[in-house]
Structure formats: structure tokens, C-alpha cells
């Protein structure tokens, strides 16, 4: 007889209640799954463990472990337990309490015995040496990534997949087995989502019962271990880990009672997460008992970090005002050695705090192969890919040491050989990754080392340390890594080319010894050199401050023609798509001095804020000059040579083969009758764009390009140059992506041609009320353009500068598209003549803030492939009365039915930007205490003089699993109280559904009316004398 889930849970909570009362051993019988199993709950080494006893022989089968995790369903426990049962492994049971209910999750015990599920053996018996003649997909490499790709392809129905491995077919013949296997969640959002997905996937696989074989053939331990990690850093910014509640389980926090918490705390190593410890502070002599659990998240990235018992936060920031405020209701006194109990080997004297990431995990090399194998992927070993053959820019075949295999798709998963392979392709594919030497030290077993010790990441010393085979594994990521193999190709006998460089590793090792004094006494530490593939961002193990986490390497790669000049004017640059863009200008910089550097990062007001304010004022009162050359620019035009044969006969140009087909001179073509009525481009664009782009020649249209779901594929400006050609301006990061999308959707008769013009034009935004006068002066012509039109004018001595009458800031002004060779001249004139118009260089960060304040959503932040114009408040740019365009049906449906999420603009009324932590994105948004969304982008509204942010709002409730429609009335309801959780404190925010109206300065000053300003009549003595204009 199976008891219901509910019954089980009730018993669990009952047990806890008992525990709370007695603080003693409590024994209870539980039924899990189809086994009626007696379960013992007892305190075990500061743990709560649940013993599952096999009902048949009465022997304990499972040791379950009480923990607290977010998402876990009883069903999965049952399946895990059954799998474990089958494998004869022990499992750990984790549980948490949610609104009085218990949730349970199993962890594999790393101590798993008899890990006989070793697929390696299964695998080598396969037909691993016969190369098929063809395959739909060929994957080069059989490492972790390749296996993952194969697995996912197979999972998604691609069965004709071939995996080629140049050595013996076994996981990790390359570098996969070397990696430390750390899956750290403390990363920027995109990285984090990938890692989170991996963790989930591993869990799923684990539930399915897959296991691995280690390269040395020694089946040892469970391959996937959800470890705790402790991240350590001494910078204060790092520890702005703040009390907040996560979207997924807001009630959990509230429901956890004192008992559970203390249990949680003592159960730390096995329970949750990692702790980020920040150095420099003083430990309070006394700790305080927890009244609440604190969820941690990285405010800069909106990264949910985990649950931290509040007293640890208290330890971390004894004097932090936020913490003090949070703990004003503190009661009991707690032992001071709790920090040590987290990690007994940790030197804590100079630590200031820690971040605890519960879901970090280690994967000691993961095996997907059997799963793939059984579902259709084929593996061939000892087969080295030599070349990739293409035909008409499409993959045709792959030549290997075992022969040639025809294929449609080729996936390069060659790890550290990937770059070399890419270079061997024709045309060459350049992969920006290089193997660098990565060192770690392993020690012999240490007596009584708790295998559940969290992994400690010390951001100060760039090291990590975790338990490994009873000893420690200590590795590090030095700031300047050594390229492996002296930067050359990977040698054939690469495994013999991994010198141990103690000298190189010593600085890191010393820091590690400082953090873990126990290491000093350990005798024979082994240093391993494991090359790892790295991309050149230089951000590994660095704190990613908001607005200030720029890549360190591969800089000055793509530069605007103005780069050098802007540099001498105090520009501080950042990159997007490898393109250097001025973030802001240090106006105190004097040419000749060392170039200005970005000040240290901050989660509060940026230290360069005053410069941004100056820049804003220039845009608002004078002229702001913004270099926007990084924008992706494309020309879309018809191809006259591709008329259909029947058309061709009527074309006069066929009779004149020598005629110059100068596309840049359409008039010339039209005069000779070379063009058709030319609707192919407009037809094509009408199909792609959700706005009506059949605009008059000389006009501009702001439009989205949608996918079939109505989501954004592009948000761009289309300029109609001639009847049959357009100029398109898209966000910087869209350069390759949208090119690809548009190519995919080209008409089959290839009558439309798309050319990337990004590098041909330098883009300068001339923003502000005096921009018109300035441009009139520079061009000697009337710049009185209607909004959303363009004109070619001469600026200074430069001819044919495209002047478009819009800016990307919401302020009046112009966008100048300057043929790049004229860029310096035009910029020079702008600055020289502009001096009298109050012209100033403006950086992209100021522009960013100005856009946020105008409620203008950003590409990739608000506008993504899963948000639609109606959700983002751009419904007016959707013309549903048009003929078919991609996404029309989805948008029509959404228009009829309503949206389930909506972008809302918030004003932070009560936050003092000079004192408080700013929102930076990722903060949860509450509506009447229910979490309804997260901040997507945030900044300071200069005109409003307050902090502002954007975020998508969803209906808090679900209706049969589907999201409810959200209406304007719901969002703006009078009784709706919105709050933002910034760094642990709730602040009231005011929602707005429409962009705020700012009286923009009239761009045409000559017509501006004068109105006297009144001086206060009441106090004539206060009149400021003499004259004040």
C-alpha cells in the first residue's frame, strides 16, 4: 500500500517539529516510493541524515541527507531512489520546507559503492572503428562538449549523428578529465544559465542512472557531486550579497522556522551552498541567532546565489548599515566558531564575508555516451579529422585518417585542437580560443577530512580548493596564464609536454597556504599541469561590477576611426562585439598624461558619475557628440542582374553589356531603364518587419523583425535610400546574428542582396537642443528635417554625409553616417565649431541611462527572441493590417488575447542615489508582496533626478499551468504596491506603463519664445544683485 505524497510530507514535517522541540534524536518510519521503509532521523555530525532501511533484509540502504533546495519533487525522489536502489548506491535525501510542506531531494552520496554502472566498458565493445560513408551530423571530438552536443541532438530527434575521436574512444582522452570540474554559478547571467542548465542536466542524467568511468579505468565515485562552495574575497563589493527572496520560492524563506534554520546551519557542509567570504573585516565576538534565512544573490548580475543563514551575513558585515537594519530584531546569542564549522581548515581571521552558492557542483567528467549510443549516435575512435570540405559555402564532407565521410553538418568539438582544426578548414574558421596551462595541486589524504567540505573559491588569490580523494585539490587561475605548448600547435605527444612549473604556481600556492594553513604541513603535494581552453576575456575569477566588467584581452581590436582622437580626449572604452566604444569621458584628463583608467568598481553610485552628469547636461542643454560607429549597418538592395529570363529580354541593358552597373547611382540606372519597378527589396523587408517599412524614399522607419513566435530577432532602423534599396542600422551585437537571420529568409530567387557596411561608415550622434544650429552652421544648409527622414549633406569639406533626424537617446538631434575616411574631418569640425554650442563628447553609458529614462528597451536585455513588441510596449510599431510577415499570426493572437508579461518602467522614489546601493538588474520586483518579475535594466534618470529601472511583470498566479493575461489595469491598479528588493531592503517603486514626457528643448532655437523669469517678489532684499542672466 502506497501512502500519498502528502502523508509522507506530513510525517517529515512532524519529525521536524519534534526535532525542534526536543533537539534530540527522533526516529520515524517513512514510506518512500514503493518500499515501505523505516527511516531514522538523527543528528549525525552536525547533519541530519535520513536512514532508509531495506524492508526485506532490514539493512540500511539509503542514508538520506536533510538539506534545503529549491526545486525538487517527490516524484523525482522516488525515481532516484529506485535508480539508486538498483545500483546499490546510497543516496542522500535533501529536504526543505515550503509553506509548511516539505520538499525532498536526493543526492548521490559521493561514497557510492559498487559503481558498476560503468559505461566505459560498454562502450569500448562497440563498433568504434568503422567509418560510415555518410552522416547527417559529424562531431569532431569525443570530449565533454562533443558528448553533450551528441546527446542533445539525439534527444531532439537527430539520430544520424557521428562522433569522431582521434584517440582511443574514451571520455576525456583530451583535456576533459583534467578539468577541476567546477561548475560555478557565480557568473554573469548568460554563463550562469548555461551552467545552471548543465547542473540540471547532470541531475537528470543522474536520476536516469548513468555513470562514468574515470580515465584511469578505476571506477571510483559518483561522478556528479553537488558540492558546497565557499567563495572568498576581500573586496567589499563582492560581498554585496544581500538578503533577498528569490522568485522561485519566496514563501520558503518566510516559512522556515527557527529550528530548521539552526539545523540548516549546523548541517552546512552537506546542506547548501557556497559561502563567499570577504576578507578584511573583524569577526564579531558573538554571533546572532537566525530569525530568517537570507537568500543571496549577486546584485550586479541578478544572480541567485543561495540561502545563507542570516547570522553569517551578520558575521560578514558586522557594521554594514544594511545588515544592521536587517537585523535590528536580533535576539539570541550564538557561538562564535560557526564560521570555522563551515570549513574547519579555513583561515577566517582576515575574512569579511562569504557567499554561499548551494547549487554549485562538480562534475568529474561526465558520460553521455551510453545515452547517445543507445539512441542512435555512432562513435568512431582512432579517427582524426584532417580537413573539412565545402561546396558553395556549405559543408560537404569531412576527410579523416580513416577516409571521407559525407555530411550536412559538422560540429567542431575538438577542445584544445579546435583552433587548429578551424584553421585547416577551407575557408578558414578562426576560433578565438587557446589552451593555457592550468595548474592544480593534489595532496595525499588528510585524516578526518570531511568529504562534504565546501569548495572554497578565493577571489583575492584566484585560487580554489576542494576535497579530492580524501585530500585537497588546490588550483588557481593566475592573472597572466602561460599558453600551453609555448603557444604553438598541440603536439602529438602533448601529454609529455606538460611541464610542472612550481615556480609559476608558487605565488598561488602560497596564497592557498595562507588561506588553508593545513596545507603547509602536507608532505608530498603533486602538481598537475592540465591545459585548458580559454577564450581571451580575462574575466575568470574577477568580480563583475555593474557597467565596469570589461574584457581585459583582445582589446583595441575593432576601433572606430575616431578611437585615437577620443582617447586623447579622455575616453574610457569598453567593448561590444569587439568594437571599442567610449563608455564615458574623463573631462579632467589632460593630453599627455597617462590615459584615464576606469576607477574601482562599485555597486553604489559609479565613481565616474559626475562625468556622466556633465555629458547628460551637454545632451540636454547644448550638444552631445556620441561615437556610435559600432552599430551594425547593412545595405539591402535589389540585384538587377538576376531578373528572370523573361524580364531580361525586355531589358535594354542586355543590349549594352558595357553599361556601368553602378548600384550606388540608382538614378543613373533608372534613367537607362535598368531597374524594374523594384519591389523585391520592399517585399522582402515587409515580410521580415512587423512595422510598415514601405515608406517614401528618404524616410526612416523603426521596426522590429520578429520570429514566428512574435519574439524579436532584430530591432532596427530602416532607411529607404532608393525605391529598391534600404540601409539598415541594428544594434552592435547583432552584426553577425541578424546577417544570418536575413540570409536565411532571403527570397529563393536571390533577387535581394545584403551587404554588411558596418566598417564603411562612422556614426556620430549629434544630440541636443543646439544640434540643429550646429549642423546648419557646419553644412551651410537647412537641416530642418522632418522626424524620421534623412538627407545627404556636406559637412565641412566632407560630402555625402547621411544625416538622419533621430537619435538613440530620446533627445532631439541627428545621426550622422559618415564615410569613414571623412570621419576625423567631420568630428574635428563638429568639435571646433561645436565649442560655441557647448559640444561635449558623450559616452555610451550616459546614453544608456538616458535611454532607460525614456523607457526605451534595449536589445538583448529587454528585446529578445522571447519577448514580443506587445510585451515590450512597442505594439504601435506592429502593423497587423499588413500582408503576411514573420510572426504576424503570433502577434495577432497576442493582440487579441493579451500578453502574459509586460515591460514596466519604475521610478525609485525613496532611494538616495548618493547613499544607497543602486539597482543594477536582476532585483526581484514585488507587487503586493508577491514576486512578479525581475529588473532587466536599471540606471539613473538624470532628468527625473532619481533612479529608474525596467522590468517585465507577470501575473503572480498561474492558471492551470499557463500564465494569466496581464492587463494595464492590473499593473497600474490603485491598490498595487510595488517594491524592489535591492541588496536586501525593500524599496517602494512607482510603476509607469508609458514613457515619461519630458519637455524637450526646442531644436529650432530661433523660434523659441522668450518668457521673463520672475524673481521672488516677497523678498526684495534677497534679490541677487547685480545682474544675473
Amino acid at each position: 500500500m502506497q501512502p500519498s505524497t502528502r502523508q509522507v510530507l506530513c510525517k517529515w514535517s512532524d519529525a521536524f517539529r519534534q526535532l525542534k522541540r526536543s533537539h534530540e534524536k527522533v526516529a520515524r518510519n517513512f514510506t518512500v516510493g514503493r518500499w515501505s521503509t523505516p527511516v531514522t532521523i538523527h543528528r549525525f555530525m552536525s547533519d541530519i541524515t535520513v536512514q532508509l532501511v531495506d524492508p526485506v533484509n532490514g539493512l540500511p540502504v539509503h542514508r538520506a541527507h536533510v538539506t534545503q533546495l529549491k526545486k525538487c519533487l517527490v516524484q523525482s525522489i522516488i525515481s532516484v531512489s529506485s535508480a539508486s536502489q538498483r545500483l546499490g548506491q546510497t543516496c542522500e535525501l535533501a529536504m526543505c520546507q515550503k509553506k509548511g510542506r516539505l520538499k525532498i531531494l536526493f543526492h548521490h552520496d559521493y561514497m557510492g559503492r559498487n559503481a558498476t554502472w560503468s559505461v566505459g566498458n560498454n562502450f569500448s565493445t562497440g563498433n568504434g572503428s568503422v567509418l560510415p560513408k555518410q552522416a547527417q551530423v559529424v562531431i569532431c571530438g569525443a570530449g565533454m562538449v562533443a558528448n553533450s552536443v551528441a546527446y542533445h541532438l539525439v534527444q531532439n530527434g537527430w539520430t544520424d549523428v557521428l562522433v569522431l575521436e582521434k584517440e582511443k574512444l574514451r571520455i576525456g582522452s583530451g583535456t576533459s578529465h583534467f578539468g577541476s570540474g567546477t561548475l560555478g554559478l557565480f557568473k554573469p547571467i548568460p554563463d550562469r544559465q548555461l551552467i545552471m542548465y548543465s547542473i540540471k542536466l547532470y541531475r537528470k542524467l543522474q536520476e536516469l542512472g548513468y555513470d562514468i568511468e574515470f580515465p584511469n579505468g578505476k571506477p571510483t565515485r559518483a561522478w556528479f557531486h553537488e558540492y558546497a562552495t565557499v567563495s572568498v574575497a576581500s573586496e567589499e563589493g563582492m560581498i554585496l550579497v544581500l538578503p533577498a527572496v528569490d522568485l522561485c520560492c519566496p514563501p520558503m524563506l518566510l516559512a522556515v522556522d527557527l529550528c530548521c534554520l539552526s539545523v540548516l546551519l549546523v548541517a552546512v557542509p552537506g546542506v547548501v551552498g557556497s559561502l563567499l567570504v570577504v576578507a578584511r573585516g573583524l569577526l564579531l565576538p558573538e554571533l546572532v541567532v537566525v530569525v530568517e534565512v537570507v537568500l543571496l544573490y549577486d546584485v550586479s548580475q541578478g544572480l541567485y546565489l543561495g540561502i545563507l543563514p542570516a547570522q553569517l551575513v551578520k558575521v560578514a558585515f558586522p557594521r554594514h548599515p544594511l545588515v544592521e537594519a536587517f537585523f535590528h530584531s536580533v535576539s539570541e546569542v550564538f557561538g562564535s566558531d560557526e564560521m570555522k564549522r563551515l570549513h574547519p581548515y579555513l583561515r577566517t581571521e582576515d575574512l569579511e564575508g562569504a557567499i554561499w552558492v548551494p547549487e554549485d557542483a562538480f562534475s568529474f567528467s561526465l558520460q553521455f555516451m551510453s545515452g547517445c549510443y543507445s539512441s542512435g549516435a555512432r562513435f568512431v575512435e582512432n579517427c582524426e579529422v584532417e580537413q573539412v570540405l565545402t561546396e558553395n559555402s556549405h559543408i560537404k564532407a569531412v576527410t579523416t585518417s580513416c577516409g571521407t565521410v559525407l555530411c550536412e553538418y559538422f560540429v567542431n568539438c575538438a577542445g584544445m585542437w579546435a583552433r587548429g582544426l578551424g584553421l585547416r578548414c577551407s575557408p578558414t574558421v578562426r576560433i578565438p580560443a587557446l589552451p593555457a596551462e592550468h595548474f592544480y595541486v593534489t595532496t595525499p589524504p588528510v585524516a578526518d577530512l570531511d568529504p562534504w567540505l565546501p569548495c572554497v573559491r578565493d577571489y583575492d588569490s584566484h585560487t580554489y580548493a576542494r576535497e579530492w580523494e580524501g585530500g585537497f585539490m588546490v588550483g588557481g587561475f593566475e592573472k597572466e596564464a602561460k599558453p600551453a605548448f609555448n603557444g604553438g600547435d598541440v603536439p602529438v605527444d602533448w601529454k609529455n609536454n606538460l611541464p610542472q612549473d612550481w615556480k609559476h604556481f608558487m605565488p598561488l600556492w602560497e596564497k592557498a597556504i595562507h588561506r588553508f594553513p593545513v596545507l603547509k604541513d602536507i608532505g608530498s603535494a603533486t602538481l598537475s599541469n592540465s591545459p585548458d581552453n580559454f577564450t581571451p576575456d580575462g574575466r575568470h575569477y574577477s568580480i563583475l561590477y555593474p557597467l565596469q566588467s570589461e574584457y581585459k584581452y583582445a582589446r583595441k581590436l575593432r576601433c572606430s576611426p575616431l578611437y585615437s582622437v577620443l582617447e586623447t580626449r579622455g575616453a574610457v572604452f569598453g567593448t561590444r562585439m569587439g568594437y571599442e566604444r567610449p563608455l564615458y569621458f574623463d573631462s579632467t584628463y589632460k593630453p599627455g598624461n597617462p590615459l584615464p583608467q576606469m576607477p574601482p568598481g562599485s555597486f553604489y553610485k559609479p565613481r565616474f558619475f559626475d562625468f556622466m552628469l556633465e555629458e547628460y547636461l551637454a545632451c540636454r542643454e547644448g550638444v552631445g557628440i556620441i561615437d556610435m560607429s559600432s552599430f551594425s549597418k547593412m545595405q539591402i538592395k535589389g540585384k538587377p542582374q538576376n531578373y528572370t529570363p523573361s524580364q531580361r529580354k525586355t531589358r535594354s541593358w542586355q543590349a549594352e553589356p558595357s553599361v556601368d552597373l553602378d548600384e550606388d547611382n540608382p538614378r543613373h540606372l533608372e534613367d537607362r531603364g535598368l531597374r524594374s519597378s523594384g519591389t523585391e527589396v520592399v517585399d522582402y523587408l515587409q515580410k521580415l518587419c512587423s512595422n510598415d517599412v514601405n515608406i517614401p524614399v528618404g524616410g526612416c522607419a523603426h521596426t522590429g523583425m520578429q520570429n514566428e513566435r512574435g519574439g524579436y530577432e532584430n530591432d532596427c532602423m530602416l532607411v529607404r535610400l532608393t525605391n529598391n534599396s534600404y540601409f539598415m542600422v541594428s544594434p552592435t551585437s547583432q552584426q553577425t546574428r541578424i546577417f544570418e537571420w536575413m540570409h536565411q529568409n532571403l527570397p529563393s530567387d536571390s533577387t535581394v542582396d545584403i551587404t554588411d557596411m558596418t566598417s564603411m561608415y562612422t556614426v556620430i550622434n549629434v544630440v541636443g537642443p543646439k544640434s540643429r544650429e550646429l549642423m546648419a552652421e557646419l553644412s551651410n544648409s537647412d537641416i530642418n528635417l522632418h522626424p524620421f527622414t534623412y538627407k545627404k549633406v556636406n559637412v565641412g569639406y566632407a560630402s555625402d554625409v547621411m544625416v538622419m533626424s533621430f537619435t538613440h537617446t530620446g533627445e532631439p538631434g541627428y545621426c550622422l553616417y559618415i564615410p569613414s575616411e571623412y570621419a576625423l574631418h567631420v568630428y574635428d569640425r563638429l568639435m571646433m565649431v561645436g565649442r560655441d554650442f557647448g559640444a561635449r563628447d558623450v559616452g555610451s553609458l550616459t546614453q544608456r541611462f538616458m535611454r532607460i529614462e525614456r523607457f526605451m528597451p534595449f536589445w538583448a536585455e529587454e528585446l529578445t527572441s522571447v519577448t514580443t513588441p506587445f510585451e515590450a510596449g512597442h505594439g504601435h510599431r506592429v502593423k497587423l493590417d499588413k500582408e503576411y510577415f514573420i510572426g504576424k499570426f503570433a502577434l495577432q493572437r497576442q493582440k487579441d488575447q493579451g500578453v502574459t508579461k509586460r515591460l514596466v518602467f519604475f521610478h525609485l522614489e525613496d532611494v538616495d542615489p548618493n547613499q544607497h546601493v543602486w539597482p543594477w538588474g536582476g532585483e526581484p520586483i514585488y507587487r503586493n508582496n508577491e514576486c512578479v518579475g525581475h529588473v532587466t535594466s536599471a540606471g539613473y534618470g538624470f532628468t527625473l533626478s532619481k533612479l529608474v529601472c525596467l522590468g517585465f511583470i507577470r501575473h503572480p498566479g498561474r492558471n492551470k499551468g499557463t500564465r494569466q493575461i496581464i492587463t494595464e489595469e492590473f499593473i497600474m491598479a490603485r491598490n498595487a504596491k510595488y517594491e524592489l528588493d535591492i541588496a536586501g531592503s525593500r524599496v517602494v517603486v512607482k510603476p509607469h506603463i508609458h514613457a515619461p514626457y519630458f519637455a524637450t528643448a526646442n531644436i529650432d532655437n530661433s523660434k523659441k519664445k522668450y518668457r521673463p523669469t520672475v524673481v521672488n517678489i516677497k523678498s526684495p532684499e534677497n534679490i541677487r544683485l547685480p545682474y544675473m542672466g
Binding site: 547636461l617 540636454r620 542643454e621 547644448g622 541636443g768 537642443p769 543646439k770 544650429e773 571646433m832 565649431v833 565649442r835 560655441d836 554650442f837 557647448g838 528643448a1001 526646442n1002 532655437n1005 530661433s1006 523659441k1008 519664445k1009 522668450y1010 518668457r1011 521673463p1012 523669469t1013 520672475v1014 524673481v1015 517678489i1017 526684495p1020 534679490i1023 541677487r1024 544683485l1025 547685480p1026 545682474y1027 544675473m1028 542672466g1029
Partner: protein, 506 residues
């Protein structure tokens, strides 16, 4: 032209005891004197002009200069005034100066800070027929304008304070050298209060228009001046001679209002405001901001002709003058050209004689006090504004004035454009002249006050620099002759703060 010459004695406190009855005679006498001195007919001003030119060219014939450089300096600098502003604003400072030709001088200048609104008013007034009208206008016009600038709510508060006799000042004046007799002061105060009252009653909620405000102030003041002359004062039947003499003389005015980058010029007559603009290639340009109301302005002539029957076409403007008499085609005061013939006969003829009524006086009014209002937005290239009476503009062109001030700013001297003094010169002689000119260029301006610098150059400027002989000669002409060679000159140079304008909000 000189009617009312004596009348000014009546209103300035120093000469109050003079008998008004004599004034017409005296006037005639002086007028004749002038004619004799010039040995020409006053009805033909072109003659005078010719004479002037001839004299200019032969400035050296007089032998030794009568005045020492020190004396010249003290004459030129006697009326200097400089005001610098320390608070941020578009006006950095201004220089002002006057040089009289008439005795007493008929020009007036006044600058004032509006106290209830932000902004500054600067005026140059050129009287004719005596200085009395110019004085009264200068004293009152800025007040009227300041009142017109007040929004309704402030206006009513201000009125309240006026009625409660609280001393809320509407203006703070600088360099105010005019003092009126108490009797007029009282009258003007009463009338001003009346005006404010009416203004606050009629001031519509309509949007503020600077042009309307300025026009209203000018017209109302002119109206008040006229009415004050016609209203009998006290109990006696006598026309008030003081107010009458004010309105029988006239004045042209150029008033500039500057508030931040907003510059408005309201002008009646032939005073001019010229803006000095430094182009991006560092050359000076002059921009005229005022519209002059004289016969050089054909639109103005056409306006007048259109306002009167066509049979008067030949008589309205004769010898470039209104009714053959008045050079400016618009003016304040001058009721001789505004009142009806009957009023003139009744009120003015008894005191000023038959000649008071101009010839061909059929369809009055022939004259208006409506100003032309122009507006300009100051840019950082606008470095200064020169407001001056026609005495200056007769002698130097606006561009030259701008260059003079511009280079005075940079501490350099400016020479007149080089012209060959005579025909058939040898190269060697020309070379000598050029070397002399080169020497002249090395000198620094000797005046710190730009207005004085302008006066000095207007009078003594040559191709080689300032010619002391010429200067001395022009400054030592006998009173009865001097008017033929130079008019009263009033110059105010306003310097703008480019840095402020560069960053001032649009």
C-alpha cells in the same frame, strides 16, 4: 530743431527759475547763430554734410593742436562709466561714454537691472529740440518696460505694494545722472501707478509676447507724456509748461533687454544696436540688431506714405526729413507731429509761436512712438553689443565699430583702412606711409573703456593711428560750430560672457 532747448532748463533742477516765456525767442536766436556759423541754409542739410567732409580731409591745416593729449583725455573720459558683473550671466560688463556736441548734451543713457524679473535693460536716448524729452523718456521708459514684463500675478502683487506705498523697487539703475524736479517726480509716479493698475486689469492671460510688451511700454509712455502736457495741473487755467516742454521736444530711443541668451532690441528712430560677432575664422562681423527709422529705410518711408493721402506724397518727406524737419521717422515726444492742428494751435502756439506747427500739416499724426522689436539669441560667438546714438554711426561704420571694439578687447589698435591720401604718389612715398602705419599698429589702445576708445577713434582715427591734431581740433571747436562737425555721441558697449553662453541651456 532746437525748440525746447530752453525748456530743458525748466525741468532740470538747476535752471528752474528761468522764465518759460522767453524760450521761443532764445531758441530762434540760437538757431540763427548756428546757421550763421555754418554759412549755409539750415533747410539744406546736404550742404552741411559736404562741409563736414571737406573739413575732415583737411584736418591738418590748422597748424598746432590747441589741446594737449592730457586735455584731450580728460575731455574724452569725462563721462566714462564701467560696470562689471560678478554673478554669472550673459553680461560680463559694460562700458559707456558720452561726448557732447550740443550744450547741454541732448543724449541720455541709462542702464538698469530688473529686480522683479531676471534681465537687464540698457538704453540710449537721443533727444532733439532739447534734452528734456530724452531725460524724461530715459527716466521712465525702463520702468514702463519692466512693468510690462511682469506676469499677471507678480504684477498685481507689485501694484499692491505700490498702493501701500511700500518701496518695492522694480529697477536698480546704474549711472543715473538725471534728476527731475519733485513736481514732475510726483506726477510721473502717479501716472506710473495708474499704468500698472491698468496693466494689471487688462493684462490678459494670453501668452507673453516680448514684442507686445515692449511696444506697449513705448506707446503708453508716449501717450502719458502727451496727456500730461494736455492735463491742466492744479487749479489754475495754465497749461503746465514743464510737461508741455517735454512733449514739444522729442527723443529717439534704443532699449536692449538681455536675459541669459535672450536679447531683445526695441528701437524708435535712428539709434542703433550692433552686435560684434567673431567668426570661426577669427574675423569680426557686425550684425545690426535694430531697424533704423530714417529715410535710408525705404520700408519705413513707404509705411509713412501709405498712412497718409497720396496727395501728400511730395510733402511728407522732404530733404530726407519728415515734413522737411525731423530726421528720425519715429520718435517719442514730438507732439508737434502727432497732435491735431487744433490742439497744437491751442496749446503750443501760445508758447512756442506759429512755427510750432510744421508746414503741410494736414493729416496728423505723422509720427509714431511704436518701436520695432527685434530678437536675437546670443551665441558664444557674439562677443559684445554696441548701442550708440547716430552721432557715432555718422562717423564710423558698424563694421569698423565692431573691429575697433573687437581689437580693443584683444589689446590691439585698429587703423582705418589704408587709402592713398593723394593721387600720383610715388612708391617710395607710399612705402613711407606704410612704414608709418606699421609703427602705428604696434601701439596699444590708451583707453581702458571701449566706449572712449570708440570716441577717440571716431574723432581722431586715421590710417596711421590716432591723429592728435585732428582729435584736438574736433574737440576744441567753438560751441556754435561744433554741431556741424559732430553730433552728440553716446556709446554703450556690452560685453558678453562666452563661457556662460556656451553652456547656457537652449
Amino acid at each position: 530743431m532746437a525748440i525746447g532747448y530752453i525748456a530743458q532748463h525748466l525741468i532740470t533742477n538747476k535752471h528752474l527759475s528761468h522764465c518759460a516765456a522767453q524760450c521761443s525767442k532764445r531758441t530762434e536766436f540760437i538757431f540763427k547763430q548756428k546757421l550763421v556759423g555754418a554759412q549755409t541754409n539750415s533747410k539744406d542739410p546736404s550742404h552741411i554734410l559736404t562741409l563736414c567732409r571737406a573739413f575732415h580731409c583737411s584736418s591738418k591745416v590748422n597748424g598746432y593742436p590747441r589741446l594737449t593729449p592730457l586735455e584731450v583725455n580728460s575731455i574724452l573720459r569725462a563721462n566714462e562709466f564701467t560696470k562689471e558683473f560678478s554673478t554669472p550671466g550673459s553680461i560680463k560688463s559694460y562700458d559707456s561714454n558720452q561726448l557732447s556736441s550740443n550744450n547741454p548734451i541732448e543724449d541720455t543713457r541709462l542702464e538698469a537691472q530688473c529686480l522683479l524679473t531676471t534681465g537687464m535693460l540698457l538704453g540710449v536716448f537721443d533727444g532733439h529740440g532739447g534734452p528734456s524729452c530724452a531725460h524724461v523718456v530715459a527716466k521712465r521708459l525702463l520702468q514702463y518696460i519692466a512693468a510690462c514684463l511682469l506676469p499677471p500675478d507678480v504684477l498685481s502683487k507689485y501694484l499692491q505694494s505700490l498702493e501701500n506705498n511700500e518701496d518695492i523697487m522694480i529697477l536698480k539703475t546704474y549711472n543715473d545722472q538725471i534728476d527731475l524736479v519733485d513736481e514732475l517726480k510726483e506726477l510721473y509716479k502717479t501716472n506710473f501707478r495708474k499704468f500698472v493698475k491698468e496693466l494689471s486689469e487688462t493684462k490678459s492671460q494670453r501668452e507673453f509676447q516680448m514684442k507686445e510688451a515692449m511696444e506697449q511700454a513705448f506707446l503708453r509712455l508716449d501717450d502719458d507724456i502727451s496727456r500730461e502736457a494736455l492735463t491742466k495741473q492744479g487749479t489754475g487755467p495754465e497749461i503746465n509748461l514743464k510737461t508741455l516742454s517735454v512733449t514739444m521736444s522729442g527723443a529717439v530711443a534704443c532699449v536692449v533687454h538681455i536675459d541669459g541668451p535672450h536679447l531683445h532690441v526695441a528701437s524708435v528712430g535712428d539709434c542703433q544696436a550692433v552686435l560684434g560677432v567673431l567668426s570661426d575664422v577669427n574675423t569680426w562681423m557686425a550684425k545690426k540688431l535694430s531697424i533704423e527709422h530714417n529715410t535710408d529705410n525705404s520700408a519705413e518711408v513707404n509705411r509713412i506714405l501709405a498712412e497718409h493721402p497720396s496727395n501728400e506724397r511730395d510733402t511728407i518727406i522732404r530733404m530726407d526729413r519728415l515734413l522737411g524737419q525731423l530726421a528720425p521717422l519715429r520718435a517719442l515726444g514730438d507732439q508737434r507731429y502727432k497732435w491735431s492742428k487744433a490742439t497744437l494751435s491751442e496749446v503750443a502756439v501760445p508758447y512756442f509761436g506759429e512755427k510750432t506747427i510744421p508746414p503741410n500739416y494736414y493729416t496728423p499724426p505723422y509720427l509714431t512712438a511704436r518701436p520695432d522689436v527685434t530678437q536675437h539669441r546670443l551665441t558664444p560667438r557674439d562677443k559684445f553689443l554696441v548701442i550708440a546714438s547716430d552721432g557715432l554711426w555718422d562717423m564710423v561704420s558698424p563694421l569698423q565699430v565692431v573691429r575697433l571694439v573687437g581689437e580693443h578687447m584683444s589689446g590691439k589698435v585698429t587703423l582705418n583702412p589704408f587709402k592713398l591720401p593723394r593721387k600720383n604718389m610715388r612708391i617710395a612715398d607710399i612705402n613711407k606711409l606704410l612704414l608709418q602705419r606699421k609703427e602705428g599698429l604696434k601701439k596699444k589702445p590708451i583707453d581702458t573703456n571701449a566706449a572712449t576708445h570708440l570716441l577717440r577713434n571716431a574723432l581722431g582715427g586715421t590710417e596711421y593711428g590716432i591723429d592728435h591734431g585732428k582729435l584736438s581740433h574736433l574737440l576744441s571747436l567753438p560751441d556754435e560750430l561744433v554741431r556741424l562737425f559732430r553730433d552728440d555721441i553716446t556709446v554703450t558697449v556690452v560685453y558678453f560672457d562666452s563661457e556662460y553662453l556656451r553652456h547656457s541651456p537652449a
